[in-house]
């Protein structure tokens, strides 16, 4: 045991302190990678321009187009058709800001374009030991690589553009220790929904969560990203997982990852990034992965989640009763079999190749229920190419689903993709807030497998039943 055992978070924090915090002022933290997109950056660039400030480190800044962009299929070379002129203006503003400031942009013509939290890791921009920020609350996704990654507001985007630094108070730490392994038909999305249900929507406020234990070590990188992605839904500042061989294997060979001897040196450095034995956390939570079933949400907050084969709760009154009323679910009624209108497979939570494979495994040889609309939106151009190369697009389109261009799509519903008032949507995204997927739309969060099974059934369905039937054949 080392003399002064430290958590992984402590190590990441201390390595980036430009100025340590005092009673009077927060620490000044250096930022290694600043990811930007069209929605939360324009006012920040305006601020720099007004003050006559340059972007300090365009080389540590990377931009993509994802939130306001349409996902409608597009012939090569043809122009995107935006939901409205404001969306187009916002995208063009980012293109202009990147041009003027020498910032790399994965734009419309780039093979690298995609959802910011999908492309960062995919391109090898995201690396262990880094501090990573973005004007987006799902930035914690990158914590899956052992990076300290968190969402910031637009004023802070301006601070990072101008100074590559950020004023931050040191958060508290929480360890979520996951024992056991996930059962067949149960995925990382179910695990994180179960964790959020346990912690509550604000239960991890002020904390950075480290996910640890055998149940986490057994996860693939894509699964780890799904887990870290939704840390904010428990109120956490960030979520991190110590890097290991799974991490190093995933990064090696990626576009912006170190190569050759530099990679070996980096790997040795990254291997030190773990919590020391004996280090203490401000809070500890234990979860048994083997006890988790496929999860779905029954209310309008991500912590309102239950096993898919459970019944809706029977609250007397108050928040839970209002949430059930919004969802149109009756207290005590089975969630299985609730009729749905649409299914969305996509978002920074679940739009990676493994997610599409998971949905396709359920869809293969089956059809989307008549009257149900299903959108499958790959997380990036790279995911789209890889999925098409193995024929996943054909499985989805043959089943009657729509195969779209990459983007945030129906997760945020500000780009032309949304549900209609009153519709019930099973969605692999991260938020079931009232109106999140369009005014009056009711959202059920679920894994790609559960979403696909529900598309086939035309109702909330248990993917284990379909998967068992497939194996039996």
């Amino acid at each position: 045991m080392s003399a002064d055992p430290k958590t992984l978070f402590d190590k990441l924090w201390e390595a980036h302190e430009v100025v340590p915090e005092t009673q009077a002022a927060p620490a000044l933290l250096y930022i290694d990678l600043h990811l930007i997109h069209e929605v939360t950056s324009p006012q920040a660039f305006t601020e720099l321009q007004t003050r006559g400030l340059p972007v300090r480190r365009p080389d540590l800044t990377f931009a993509t187009l994802d939130h306001s962009t349409p996902t409608t299929p597009r012939a090569p070379g043809s122009k995107p058709i935006y939901a409205n002129p404001a969306a187009q203006n916002q995208v063009e503003r980012l293109e202009e800001n990147c041009r003027r400031n020498g910032i790399r942009l994965a734009g419309w013509d780039s093979d690298d374009r995609g959802i910011v939290h999908v492309i960062g890791p995919e391109l090898g921009l995201t690396q262990p030991g880094m501090t990573i920020v973005c004007g987006d609350s799902h930035t914690a996704t990158h914590g899956a690589f052992g990076a300290l990654a968190f969402g910031i507001g637009t004023t802070e985007v301006g601070h990072v553009l101008a100074t590559q630094s950020l004023l931050q108070r040191k958060p508290k730490t929480m360890r979520v220790h996951v024992d056991g392994e996930l059962r067949a038909g149960v995925g990382a999305k179910d695990l994180i929904l179960a964790i959020i249900a346990e912690l509550g929507a604000g239960g991890a406020a002020g904390h950075v969560i480290e996910y640890a234990g055998p149940g986490v070590e057994a996860l693939s990188m894509e699964e780890r990203m799904t887990v870290c992605n939704m840390s904010i839904e428990a109120g956490a500042r960030a979520g991190i997982i110590a890097p290991d061989q799974t991490t190093f294997d995933w990064i090696e060979g990626r576009k912006y990852a170190p190569k050759g001897a530099a990679f070996e040196a980096a790997r040795r450095r990254w291997s030190q990034l773990k919590t020391d034995p004996g280090a203490t956390f401000d809070a500890e939570v234990r979860i048994d992965a083997s006890a988790i079933a496929p999860m779905v949400t029954w209310g309008d907050s991500p912590d309102m989640a239950a096993p898919v084969d459970a019944s809706a709760p029977q609250p007397g009154e108050g928040e839970a009763a209002e949430a059930l009323a919004y969802m149109g679910f009756k207290p005590g009624e089975a969630l299985l079999g609730e009729k749905i209108d649409a299914v969305f497979v996509g978002s920074c939570t679940n739009a990676r190749l493994s997610d599409l494979r998971e949905a396709a495994a359920v869809m293969a040889g089956r059809h989307v229920k008549v009257g149900v609309r299903m959108l499958v939106v790959p997380g990036s151009q790279a995911v789209k190419r890889a999925a098409e190369a193995e024929g996943l697009d054909a499985i989805f389109t043959t089943a009657g689903a729509e195969w779209r261009e990459p983007g945030c799509s129906m997760c945020i519903a500000m780009n032309g993709d949304s549900g209609k008032p009153g519709e019930l949507v099973v969605s692999t995204s991260n938020r079931n807030f009232a109106g999140r997927q369009g005014k009056g739309v009711r959202t059920v969060l679920a894994s790609p497998a559960t979403a696909a099974a529900s598309a086939v059934a035309g109702a909330i369905a248990d993917p284990r039943r379909i998967l068992e039937a497939s194996h039996a054949q």
């Binding site: 430009v18 100025v19 009077a24 002022a25 927060p26 000044l28 250096y30 929605v39 939360t40 324009p42 006012q43 305006t46 601020e47 007004t50 003050r51 400030l53 300090r56 939130h67 306001s68 409205n84 404001a86 969306a87 203006n89 916002q90 503003r93 987006d136 609350s137 969402g151 507001g153 637009t154 004023t155 802070e156 601070h159 101008a162 100074t163 590559q164 630094s165 004023l167 108070r169 958060p171 929507a201 604000g202 406020a205 002020g206 904010i232 109120g235 500042r237 907050s301 928040e319 945020i412 519903a413 500000m414 008032p421 938020r431 807030f433 009232a434 109106g435 999140r436 005014k439 009056g440």
Partner: protein, 192 residues
Amino acid sequence: MPSEPITKIRSNAFTLREPNIDTDQIIPARFLTTTERGALADACFRDWRFDDDGQPNGHPLNARDPETARILIAGDNFGCGSSREHAPWALKDFGFDAVITSRAADIFKSNALKNGLVVCEVDEASHAALLDRAGEPVEVNVIDQTVTYGNNQASFKLEPFARTCLIEGVDPMGYILGQSAAIARFEKGRAA
């Protein structure tokens, strides 16, 4: 840029009791395509205030007097969800100067304080009492970090630097730029 110092806010309470009011409620995503600031009053709580046919409904937010009811008393875990700074911008544009709650989400709180929207997290008993005081006068004192209502007083604690910025009008960007030498040293130390 330095801003106007904020030391005291006196106004009437406006209450929204619901817990977990997320930033998608405060401003729905379809209003986030703006590239400007200062014009989000109409978007604030839009889907609470307007019916599907686009007509304003009977929600109390539509009957509120923006001149006299500038202090929002809101349910627990206010501002959870998306990091959009458009949420505090919209609340300010709509005419709120302070939010009093039992707990505010981290990013929302940080964003709000950078925009002169004072976020006061008070104890649960005071919170419950304040939620029952719609329309009554409340005073938020940023220097003393107190909320006064009737004959009662509750305390709250701001992050000390954010408080200094509010009461002295300090510009955080200017403060960080003042540390440029330390930033350059840090960069040099890593490159070595």
